[in-house]
C-alpha cells in the first residue's frame, strides 16, 4: 500500500499544480488583471508553496509511520514522541503561521488603502441584477461597470433588499452589499478587457443568474463612453420604433423601467436608457440579441424562473415594435 499512497499524494499535488497553471477561464482569480487580485494571487502562490511542502512532509510522515512497523513489531527510532509533538506540532507550525500572519497584515494594509484620485462608482445589488451609477455624471446603467485602465476605482456597494456580494475574480476579492450600510471595494484595472463578475452571496431564487461585467478601457475611451451616455437617447426614427415607445409607456413596462428623457420612470427594474450597449439580458441569463429580447418580453419566467420580470401576453406586432424600440436605445 505504501508506494500507492505515496503516488496518490504526489499525483494530487501535481494535478493541482497543472490544473491551476493551465486554467484560463474568464473568471479566473489567478489570472489577475487588477492590483488587488494580483496581490492576492501572489499571496496564494506563497501559500501554495508552503502548503505543498507541509502536505508532502506531514503526509510522508503519516505514511511512513503507518508502514514502518507493519511486520508487527515496533521499529526503534531516535525521534522521541515528545520531539515529534514539540517540533512538528508546535515549533514548525508556529513559525509558518507567524510568516502568514505578517503577510496577512501587510497585504490587508496594502489593499485597504484609499487613494485620492479614485473614480467613484455606486453599485446597488438588486434581485437579481446590479444597478450602476456614476456620481456627478448623468449615467445610470445595469450589470456593466465601465472603468478606465490604470485609475484607482472605488466601488460603493449598497442594497435595499437582501445581501449580495460583488465579485470580479480577475480584478479583486469580494465585498458584500449589506442593507443599512455602504461598503467599499477598491481596485485598479491594469489591462483593458472585459472581466466577468458574479453575485457570491446566496440571495434567493435567481442567485445563479446575477452576473455582470467590468469593462476596463483606455482613459480616453472611458471618457468618450461617459460623454455619450450622459445624454438621453435620440427620439425614435422609424414608425415601428415610435409605436414601440408608445407601447412601452402604455404597457406595464414603464412602471418598472426608466428610459431617461421619456415618461418611463419606473424604479423596480433596470434602467434601459442604454439597453443596446449591454451584452446580456437578465444579468447574464441570455445574450442580448433581438430574438432573445422578444423571447424575454414574452417568457422571461421560462428563461429566468422566479425573476421579477413577468411574462407579457402580447401580439407578434406589439413584440416587434417593443423590440425595435428597445434596440434603438443606445
Amino acid at each position: 500500500m505504501s508506494p500507492l499512497r505515496h503516488t496518490a499524494v504526489f499525483a494530487w499535488v501535481l494535478a493541482a499544480t497543472l490544473a491551476l497553471a493551465a486554467c484560463s477561464g474568464s473568471t479566473d482569480a489567478l489570472d489577475a488583471h487588477g492590483s488587488e487580485s494580483r496581490h492576492i494571487a501572489g499571496l496564494w502562490w506563497l501559500m501554495f508553496g508552503l502548503a505543498a511542502g507541509v502536505y508532502l512532509v506531514v503526509g510522508g510522515f503519516i505514511v511512513l509511520a503507518a508502514v514502518r512497523g507493519r511486520r508487527g513489531k515496533p521499529v526503534g527510532s531516535r525521534i522521541s514522541p515528545s520531539m515529534f509533538i514539540v517540533v512538528g506540532g508546535l515549533v514548525v507550525p508556529t513559525l509558518i503561521l507567524l510568516v502568514l500572519a505578517v503577510v496577512t497584515v501587510t497585504t490587508t494594509d496594502a489593499l485597504r488603502k484609499p487613494s485620492h484620485d479614485a473614480l467613484r462608482v455606486e453599485v446597488q445589488g438588486e434581485r437579481w441584477w446590479w444597478e450602476v451609477r456614476y456620481p456627478g455624471r448623468q449615467i445610470v446603467t445595469a450589470n456593466e461597470v465601465r472603468v478606465p485602465v490604470g485609475q484607482p476605482v472605488e466601488i460603493g456597494l449598497v442594497s435595499d433588499n437582501v445581501i449580495h456580494s460583488f465579485w470580479v475574480p480577475e480584478l479583486a476579492g469580494k465585498v458584500d452589499t449589506i442593507p443599512g450600510q455602504r461598503n467599499v471595494l477598491r481596485f485598479t484595472a491594469e489591462k483593458a478587457g472585459t472581466y466577468l463578475g458574479v453575485c457570491a452571496e446566496f440571495c434567493g431564487i435567481q442567485h445563479a443568474h446575477m452576473g455582470f461585467r467590468v469593462i476596463a478601457q483606455s482613459p480616453g475611451g472611458f471618457e468618450r463612453w461617459a460623454a455619450e451616455h450622459a445624454s438621453p437617447p435620440l427620439q425614435p426614427e422609424s414608425e415601428l420604433t415610435a409605436q414601440g415607445q408608445l407601447l412601452f409607456q402604455r404597457l406595464p413596462c414603464a412602471g418598472c423601467h426608466t428610459v431617461r428623457g421619456t415618461e418611463a420612470r419606473g424604479k423596480a427594474g433596470p434602467d434601459l436608457t442604454d439597453f443596446t450597449s449591454r451584452a446580456t439580458i437578465g444579468a447574464g441569463a441570455v445574450e442580448n440579441t433581438p430574438q432573445n429580447l422578444a423571447r424575454w418580453i414574452q417568457e422571461a419566467q421560462s428563461i429566468k424562473p422566479g425573476a421579477l420580470m413577468p411574462d407579457l401576453t402580447l401580439s407578434g406586432d406589439e413584440v416587434a415594435a417593443l423590440v425595435s424600440y428597445l434596440e434603438s436605445l443606445n
Binding site: D28, I62, G69, P74, A101, T108, N183, G204, P305
Partner: protein, 636 residues
C-alpha cells in the same frame, strides 16, 4: 472498599437481567432510559438522516454535472442545498457524535448508566421530533430554502413569505434543546460517575473530547438558538431584530449565528479527534503518545474556537483592524490541531500498525484532514479569503473538514465499536472495499472543487453557463460524489448484514485498553455487575486480570459491587481521583420524557401554524409530563 482479583461468577444472572430489562414491546420502546438503547437509536436515526442528506447531495450533483441542466428547478435546488446542509450539521454530525457518546461514555468510565437517564431519553425524543418536524416541511411542499445559515433579510417575512423558513427556525431552536440537555448530562456523568481510581489523568481521550464537546455546546448553542428564536419572533410576531429598514441589524444575525457556527465545526471535530485518539493507539499496539499534550490541545481548541467566528464574515465590510484579530486567532487554532496530528504520528511511529478497516479509516482521516486543515489556514489569511469565500474553494474546504475529518472518524468508529454494540463483527474485506471507494470518491468529488473556486464558481448556484471552463471539473466532481456514495452504501450494507450474519464478537476483539471492552459484546443492560477498579490509563493492558470492586457496607461503596447491580444503582464518585462518595439510584423506565418532548413538539407545531389552541394544548401536555416527572422523582 475491598477489591477482588477475579470477576466473581455471576450470581443469579437471570434475576439480574429481570431487574434491568425494559418492559417488552411498544411500551418498553417508549419508556426505555437505558443509555445503550438510546445511544443505538441516536446512531441509527442519524444514519437514516445521513443517507437522506447524502441522496440530496447526489441529486444536486446530477443537476450540476453539466452546464444549464434542468434536473432541478431553481427553487428545488435551493431547498435541497438548504436541507442537505441543515441535515448534515443538525441531524447527522452533531447528534451521531452525541449518540456514540451516549453509548460509549458510561461504559468507558465504568458505570451503569448516564447521570440523568430520563433526561437522556428526553434529549433523544426531542432530537427525533425536531428531525421529523423539519422534514415534514416536504409534505406540505414548503421545505426551507434560505440556506442552512438562513441569513436575514433573505429569510425574513418580506423575502420568504411561506412557511419554509419557519420549519428551519423553529426546527433549529427545537433541536438545540436536545444538544444542550445532552451536554449537561455528559459533563455530570464524567465528573460524578467514574469508576473508582479513574482520575482525570486516566480518562480515556475520547471522554476528554466529550467533556470539551459538552462545554462548547453549552456555551455555543444558546447563540444559534437565540439567532433562530429572534428570527422567528421577527417572522411570526413582527419584531424587527434583523430588519434593517426598521433599525434592526442583519449583521447581528450573522454574529449570533457564527458565534455558534464556528465553535460548531470544532464541536464536531473534537469528539471525532477523540475517537481517533482511541483507535490509533489500539491498532498501533501502544499507548497514545503525548496524552497530556493531546488533552491540553482539546481544551485549547475548546477555548480558541470561540474567537474565530468572524472569519465567516470577512467580506461584510468590517474594519480591517477587527478582521485582523480574527484572522490571527483563526491561524492560531491550527497549532493545537498540529499537536494532535504529531501525537498520532508519533504513536504510529513508535508502534506497529495493524491495517484493519477501522485503522484505514483513521489513516484516511489523517490524510484528508491534513488538507482540510491546510486550506483552513489559507482562508484565515484575510486577503485570500476575499477571493475564496463563498466560492467552491470553501465548499471543498468545508467538506474536507466536515465530511473528511468527521465522517471518516465516524466510519472508523463504526468498524471499531459496532461489534461491541451488536455483538457481531463487520466484514473486514467489504470494509476495505468500502474504505477505498469512499477515499478515492471523496478526493475525486471534493479536490476539484478547490480549482472550481479559483475559476470563479460561486457557491449555491443551481446552474452555470458553458464557456467558463467549469464543465469538465464539475463532471469529475459528480462522478466522484457517486463513488463516495457507493462506498458509504457498502458500509451500510456491511452493518446491516453483519447484524444478522456477522461472526460473533468476543468481549475485546481488538485487544483494546479501555473499560467498554471489559464487558460482554453486546453488554448486559447493567454494563458491569461489579464496577472495575482502575489503577491505570489503560486498565485492560496494565491490569490483567481486571480487578472489580466488592460491595461495601456503607452508602459510599455499596453500589460498587454486585449488590449495586441487584439494587438498580450505580456508585457516585467525586474529586479528581474519583473517590467513592455515595450511591445513585437509577430510575425506573418511564414514558414521561417522551410525553414532555411530544408536548413541546405540539407546541412548536402550534407556533408554526400560528394556532393558539394547538400551542396551548402542546404546552399543557408538556408541562403536565414535566410536572409528573418532577413529582415522581421523590419516589426514588
Amino acid at each position: 472498599m475491598a477489591t477482588t482479583e477475579v470477576r466473581p461468577a455471576a450470581e443469579e444472572p437471570e434475576h439480574l437481567e429481570e431487574i434491568w430489562e425494559d418492559d417488552p414491546g411498544i411500551p418498553g420502546f417508549f419508556s426505555t432510559i437505558d443509555h445503550k438503547r438510546i445511544g443505538k437509536r441516536y446512531i441509527y436515526t442519524c444514519f437514516i438522516f445521513f443517507a437522506v442528506g447524502g441522496v440530496m447531495a447526489l441529486v444536486m450533483r446530477m443537476q450540476l454535472a453539466g452546464s444549464d441542466n434542468t434536473v432541478l428547478s431553481p427553487g428545488a435546488y435551493n431547498e435541497l442545498f438548504t436541507v442537505h446542509g441543515t441535515t448534515m450539521i443538525f441531524l447527522f454530525n452533531t447528534p451521531v457524535l452525541a449518540g456514540f457518546g451516549n453509548y460509549l461514555l458510561p461504559m468507558m468510565i465504568g458505570t451503569r448508566d448516564m447521570a440523568f437517564p430520563r433526561l437522556n431519553a428526553f434529549s433523544y425524543w426531542i432530537f427525533l421530533f425536531a428531525g421529523v418536524f423539519f422534514y415534514s416541511s416536504f409534505l406540505v411542499g414548503s421545505a426551507p430554502d434560505g440556506g442552512w445559515f438562513a441569513y436575514t433579510p433573505l429569510t425574513d417575512k418580506v423575502y420568504s413569505p411561506g412557511l419554509n423558513l419557519d420549519f428551519w427556525g423553529l426546527g433549529v431552536a427545537f433541536v438545540g434543546i436536545s444538544t444542550t440537555v445532552g451536554a449537561v448530562n455528559f459533563i455530570v456523568t464524567t465528573f460524578k460517575l467514574r469508576a473508582p481510581g479513574m482520575s482525570l489523568n486516566r480518562l480515556p481521550m475520547y471522554v476528554w473530547s466529550m467533556l470539551v464537546f459538552s462545554f462548547m455546546v453549552i456555551f455555543a448553542v444558546p447563540s444559534v438558538t437565540l439567532a433562530a428564536g429572534l428570527l422567528e419572533l421577527d417572522r411570526l410576531f413582527g419584531t424587527a431584530f434583523f430588519v434593517p429598514k426598521a433599525g434592526g441589524s442583519t449583521l447581528l444575525y450573522q454574529h449570533l449565528f457564527w458565534f455558534w457556527g464556528h465553535p460548531e465545526v470544532y464541536i464536531l471535530f473534537v469528539p471525532a479527534a477523540g475517537m481517533i485518539s482511541m483507535i490509533i493507539p489500539v491498532f498501533s499496539r501502544r499507548p497514545l503518545a503525548g496524552y497530556l499534550w493531546v488533552a491540553a490541545s482539546l481544551v485549547a481548541i475548546g477555548f480558541i474556537s470561540f474567537g474565530v467566528w468572524v472569519h465567516h464574515m470577512f467580506a461584510t465590510g468590517m474594519p480591517a483592524l477587527a478582521l485582523s484579530f480574527f484572522a490571527a486567532v483563526s491561524l492560531l487554532i491550527a497549532i493545537p490541531s498540529g499537536v494532535q496530528f504529531f501525537a498520532w504520528i508519533a504513536t504510529m511511529w513508535h508502534g506497529a500498525v495493524r491495517f484493519t478497516t477501522a485503522m484505514l479509516f483513521a489513516l484516511g482521516f489523517l490524510l484528508v484532514f491534513l488538507l482540510g486543515g491546510i486550506t483552513g489556514v489559507m482562508v484565515a489569511v484575510l486577503p485570500f479569503d476575499w477571493q475564496a469565500t463563498d466560492s467552491y474553494f470553501i465548499v471543498a474546504h468545508l467538506h474536507y473538514v466536515l465530511n473528511g475529518a468527521v465522517v471518516f472518524p465516524i466510519f472508523a468508529a463504526l468498524y471499531f465499536w459496532l461489534p461491541k454494540i451488536t455483538g457481531r463483527m463487520l466484514n473486514e474485506r467489504l470494509g476495505r472495499v468500502s474504505f477505498w471507494t469512499m477515499f478515492l470518491g471523496f478526493n475525486l468529488a471534493f479536490f476539484p472543487m478547490h480549482i472550481l473556486g479559483f475559476l470563479g464558481m460561486p457557491r449555491r448556484v443551481y446552474t452555470y453557463s458553458s464557456g467558463l471552463g467549469w464543465e469538465a471539473l464539475n463532471l469529475v466532481v459528480t462522478l466522484g460524489s457517486f463513488a463516495f456514495g457507493l462506498g458509504v452504501l457498502l458500509t451500510l450494507i456491511n452493518a446491516v448484514v453483519s447484524h444478522f450474519r456477522g461472526a460473533r464478537a468476543p468481549d475485546n476483539p481488538w485487544g483494546a485498553d479501555t473499560l467498554e471492552w471489559a464487558t460482554s459484546s453486546p453488554p448486559p443492560d447493567f454494563n458491569f455487575e461489579a464496577v472495575p477498579v482502575v489503577a491505570s490509563r489503560h486498565p485492560l493492558w496494565d491490569q490483567q486480570p481486571l480487578p472489580v470492586a466488592d460491595s461495601g457496607i456503607d452508602d459510599a461503596t455499596r453500589a460498587f459491587g454486585p449488590a449495586g447491580a441487584h439494587e438498580h444503582t450505580t456508585p457516585i464518585t467525586g474529586g479528581l481521583r474519583a473517590a467513592p462518595e455515595t450511591t445513585m439510584r437509577i430510575p425506573e423506565p418511564t414514558i414521561l420524557p417522551v410525553v414532555f418532548a411530544a408536548g413541546l413538539a405540539v407546541f412548536v407545531v402550534g407556533l408554526l401554524v400560528q394556532a393558539l389552541v394547538v400551542g396551548v394544548a402542546g404546552l399543557a401536555l408538556g408541562l403536565l409530563g414535566l410536572a409528573w416527572w418532577v413529582w415522581r422523582i421523590g419516589e426514588h
